[in-house]
Symmetry: C2
Subunit: 127 residues, 2 copies
DNA sequence: TTATTAATGATAATTCATTATCATATAGAG
DNA sequence: CTCTATATGATAATGAATTATCATTAATAA
């Protein structure tokens, strides 16, 4: 049976409030702001449960930690700030039709676009 | 001082022959075809040296092992086969201008495009 | 050819993210 | 309210990639 706990509720609300992909340490930090005693094992366990439920999905960074975002968002891409390493959503799709450039016989099923640079806050702080 | 060894030469030739990014285990396997006694430590050490020399550059996969490719190739993107996990080059750039979709104040410096699906060999084998 | 010193190979150690363990706390059924 | 099974928190263990160690090998300067 599935019990409703303060930890799970808080972690869900953290993701809903973030509006961007979060890493497990980020989830821990934000959840601990409300439940200071929360442990990282609970964060990992809850993330895994929310993945199984289809409420979250993984965001696999090139050369970065795995983050998680709400499942069911519209197709979009991601931006990572090289200074603060936070990941942000870029709405819409930036990709042209890949098929015209593919080698013969390759079947494209999915794609990802990653943008890198400075986020608004870091661009101001380190111009 | 820099000594010329059969291992280094072989590893360089493996990268030049591959024409796609290689993971350290792939480099080890291909190098061992010529130098059966080669150790993985030598592969890692040599890759690091070739990176420092600017002869290789890292290819960081989303959710995959780090691969390496020849530095100085023209701008291109990458395809990963979900069946054999090999990475292939996609020549040219598939990206539209990202600036029109960026949130205010973000500075885009770089980008990556990843395509996923089945490579030619795997598409034939598992249709 | 010899001496020296960098490179190698085998393997131990490290790192970092994630998972397992287990005693305790607590949600929710009755 | 009481009971029981699930969830939690602290921490140990794991797994995978990479790096360090060190005795041995071998490239190259003299």
């Amino acid at each position: 049976m599935d019990r409703h706990t303060a930890q799970r509720q808080a972690i869900r609300e953290v993701f809903q409030a973030a509006r961007r992909p979060l890493s497990p340490p980020e989830v821990l930090q934000r959840t601990a702001a409300r439940l200071p005693q929360v442990g990282q094992a609970t964060v990992y366990r809850t993330i895994n449960r929310l993945l199984e439920e289809g409420w979250l999905r993984p965001v696999l960074q090139p050369g970065g930690v795995t983050c998680y975002e709400l499942a069911g968002l519209d197709h979009h891409h991601h931006f990572r700030c090289r200074r603060c390493t936070q990941v942000f959503d870029i709405p819409g799709c930036l990709l042209g039709d890949p098929r015209k450039r593919m080698p013969q016989g390759f079947k494209v099923e999915d794609h990802e676009v990653w943008l890198f640079g400075l986020c608004q806050a870091c661009a101001k702080a380190a111009p």
